[in-house]
Each structure stands twice: as C-alpha cells, then as structure tokens.
C-alpha cells in the first residue's frame, strides 16, 4: 500500500551555516506575521513576530524580514545548530484594531542541520 511520507519542503544545512526559511502569504489584511518552530512530537513554539508596518525585526540569532510588496516573509537563523532542526511554520493574524482573527498557518519547512 501507499506509505505516508513527509510532504514538507526541506532545507538541509551544515552546523554553523546561516539558514533562510521563506514563506509566501496571501492575506494583505494581516496585522502580524509570526514564526513558529515545531520539534518532533511537540506542539509548535513561538519564535518571533513582526508587525505589518515593519520590514525587519531581530531576535536572538533570528531575524524576520517582511516584504509586503511581494507578500513574502523570511526567517534567518544565524550560526545554525543541530538543536534548530525542526519544522518551521509562518503564521498570520489580525490584531485587535482589525477585529481579532485566528492564527492561520503556512505549510511549513523542515530544517535539517548536520553536525
């Protein structure tokens, strides 16, 4: 019979490299764009978010870039470590001033970091 396999795009990097994970979004009305990390067997975990009126935000070893012209969001991870191996999801939502909305998740990208 047909086996169930992974259908997520995969990014493979070496430890110490910088990683860039991309996401295209569709809803121009979103107020916030968020990145989540999901390790195997666990629920997603918040990494960083960016408000729609910003184009860049930095955290610890991570940077999120937002290009509203082409509706593109990216997550940059500096000096990638094996512990960064996980599935990364982008998400979007509307904030209180626009009438709250649910978090809508993208399809996800698997990041594999080799030592």
């Amino acid at each position: 019979g047909e086996s169930v396999g992974l259908h997520l795009p995969t990014l493979s990097v070496q430890e110490g490299d910088n990683s860039i994970i991309n996401c295209a979004y569709s809803n121009s009305a979103s107020d916030y764009f968020i990145w989540y990390k999901q390790e195997s067997g666990k629920g997603p975990q918040f990494i960083i978010d960016i408000r729609s009126n910003m184009d860049k935000r930095q955290g610890q070893r991570v940077t999120v870039l937002l290009n509203k012209t082409v509706k593109h969001l990216s997550l940059q991870i500096a000096a990638t470590q094996p512990g960064d191996s996980a599935v990364y999801f982008c998400a979007e939502n509307r904030g209180p001033n626009s009438g709250y909305s649910t978090l809508t998740f993208g399809k996800g990208t698997m990041l594999l970091v080799s030592p």
Binding site: V4, G5, G41, G43, P96, Y100, T102
Partner: protein, 112 residues
C-alpha cells in the same frame, strides 16, 4: 498549571464512536484555538474562541465536529461518529495577545 494541558494524550477509538478531547488553556488567556495535524502535514485550523465573542467555526470539516468553551476556560472538542480520516493529532493553543500562542502536546487520535 504552567502551560496548556490536553487530555487524553492518546486515544484509540472504533469507527462510528464519539470522542471528546479536552483542553485546559493557560489561565487568563482569552484566545483558544483548535488545530488538526496529520503526519508530516501542516496545521489545519478547526475553531477559534476569542473572549465572549461568537467562535469562528469556519474550519470545522463537517457537522460531526463541534467544540465548546465553558466559562472562558476549558474547551472540549467533540467528534461524533468518528471516521478513519479523523485520525490525526489534535492540537489546542491559547493566547493572550493573539500572536504568541502556547500549544499543548496534542491528542493523538487513532480511529480503527
């Protein structure tokens, strides 16, 4: 508790039976979400509760699915007459600001 708690962690049920999945959100969080995740797939939105507002049920796949949130806290997702395609991990999350959502470990549902 410190985080979002879901129960049971695993549930095996026979096709046609009803199941109830429970979510205890973080105290004080006004937003509560239910998602479904199949193996190797993304998160499929099911339902969203925000404070006292009417829930957003637009993601429920059929009328066999329903959810309620009592007293703005605990939520129960009910699946009636379960089918094999309902097998998945059901994730609950809660949030205070709508952006930083805290997820539970999920309930793995297997319909045999």
């Amino acid at each position: 508790g410190a985080g979002v708690s879901q129960s049971p962690s695993n549930k095996v049920t026979e096709k046609g039976k009803d199941v109830e999945l429970r979510c205890d959100p973080i105290s004080g969080h006004t937003a509560l979400y239910w998602y479904r995740q199949s193996l190797g797939q993304g998160l499929e939105f099911l339902i969203y509760f925000q404070g006292n507002s009417a829930p957003d049920k637009s993601g429920l796949p059929s009328d066999r699915f329903s959810a309620e949130r009592t007293g703005g806290s605990v939520s129960t997702l009910t699946i009636q007459r379960t089918q094999q395609e309902d097998s998945a991990v059901y994730l609950c999350a809660s949030s205070l600001d709508g952006r930083r959502a805290f997820f539970g470990q999920g309930t793995r549902l297997t319909v045999v």
